[in-house]
Symmetry: C2
Subunit: 224 residues, 2 copies
DNA sequence: CCGTATCCAATAAGATACTG
DNA sequence: CAGTATCTTATTGGATACGG
């Protein structure tokens, strides 16, 4: 049984292979399985705990998450580490190489947002929202603006630093930002991308900046 | 039975969905199935026939190819058309929107080529080879060079135009290029990326240029 | 909290043969 | 050439229950 399982797992890696030297084919062997890229997305801004991943990947089951993390680790894309004391909890983080796929993931998301079938009203994880700020950012619309915009999304806090040509995201205390959006990530997404009124969430600080901020992330034009 | 099939196909689209507004999740619903991105890769430089796709996607079976093409068509990524007379054969081509995923596909391939497990000795389709020229191109190494390099790879011919900052690929008659590489795509790949000697294929034209050309596509450094 | 172990159902993929 | 039709296999994913 032990042996059989090993054989099966090897088969899983071998038989389902694309026999193709093309880098893309290899990419799909590395991160092409269901959930794999979404897990990597969740690791974009730093290490995450198992339960956090499970919570933000709506619909994944524990065993699938375990399996994907193990595969990604075996392939050198994810690393299992322990946070320094006093936290000392076990976390997963992307390796340096693994981190390099994040811009591509973001670009894929931007591409797909042009689909006529894209439904932006579905739930959105905090990381998805932060990533959307980076991929949809319009430098032209932000001309001359520099600001720190904070987010309190459930357990996690982020700061988006708007600069001349890009937005940098840090997972860190939002206090001290020029303006802070607070609420669950779905509601905040509604305000940022869906045009929902501020009253649906909490907005503290420079409200003028908040209003301007919302204009910086135009949705790409629909295809077709 | 008819009805059952419809129900099943809807289930395939619905149940396997990621419930996630994130663009990436939608991208994976659009092109995340096995073979889908590889099919799009094959459409990068123009329309292709069913049999050509099947031949270059080593290992795909006819029914899977049929199904993928139908899905991609339904999603607005691929279009089924007929070549103008006198050819008048039926072909598949990427839509304008579908074409925009090509650079992302190329970047994914380049990322994956850094994997310690990447095996560059496997077979490589003509399109893969052409795409690798674009993704691995080093503008620094090509400083001052402008040239047209032709390829005759089995049935298909391509011309790579090396410019200041990029390589453009066209699927067109190779005649008139400054140098022409001919052979099956695996052998030519061996020469271009594997350091195999010219004798394994046919090289006609400016041999000095051919030698220089080989230096323009450094493999990215391995991760880990 | 962080998983592992087991089981079941759905389905996708592959092989093969066949048709307009 | 361009696919369908059919059948078999095995992988995947999801649910549940359990252990450190």
């Amino acid at each position: 049984m032990e042996l059989e399982k090993v054989t099966k797992s090897l088969a899983g890696d071998d038989k389902r292979r694309y026999d193709d030297a093309c880098g893309l084919a290899h990419a799909l062997e590395l991160v092409g399985e269901r959930w794999a890229m979404l897990i990597l997305r969740e690791l974009a801004y730093g290490p995450r705990r198992f339960s956090g991943l499970k919570a933000d990947l709506s619909g994944i089951s524990a065993n699938v998450l375990t399996q994907r993390l193990a595969e990604l680790e075996r392939r050198g894309i994810v690393r299992k580490t322990r946070l320094p004391p006093p936290a000392s909890v076990q976390v997963y983080e992307a390796t340096e190489w693994g981190l390099e796929i994040e811009p591509l993931i973001g670009a894929l998301g931007k591409w797909a947002a042009r689909s006529p079938n894209h439904n932006p009203t579905l739930p959105m994880s905090p990381v998805s929202l932060m990533m959307s700020l980076q991929t949809l950012f319009s430098p032209e619309r932000a001309a001359g603006l520099e600001a720190r915009v904070g987010f309190r999304l459930g357990e996690s806090e982020y700061v988006a630093s708007v600069g001349r040509e890009r937005v940098d995201i840090e997972r860190t205390d939002a206090a001290g930002s020029d303006v802070i959006f607070s609420g669950n990530s779905n509601d905040v997404t509604g305000v940022i991308h869906g045009g929902a009124p501020f009253e649906t969430i909490t907005v503290e600080g420079d409200l003028g900046l908040a209003k301007r901020f919302l204009t910086l992330f135009p949705l790409p034009p629909k295809a077709g």
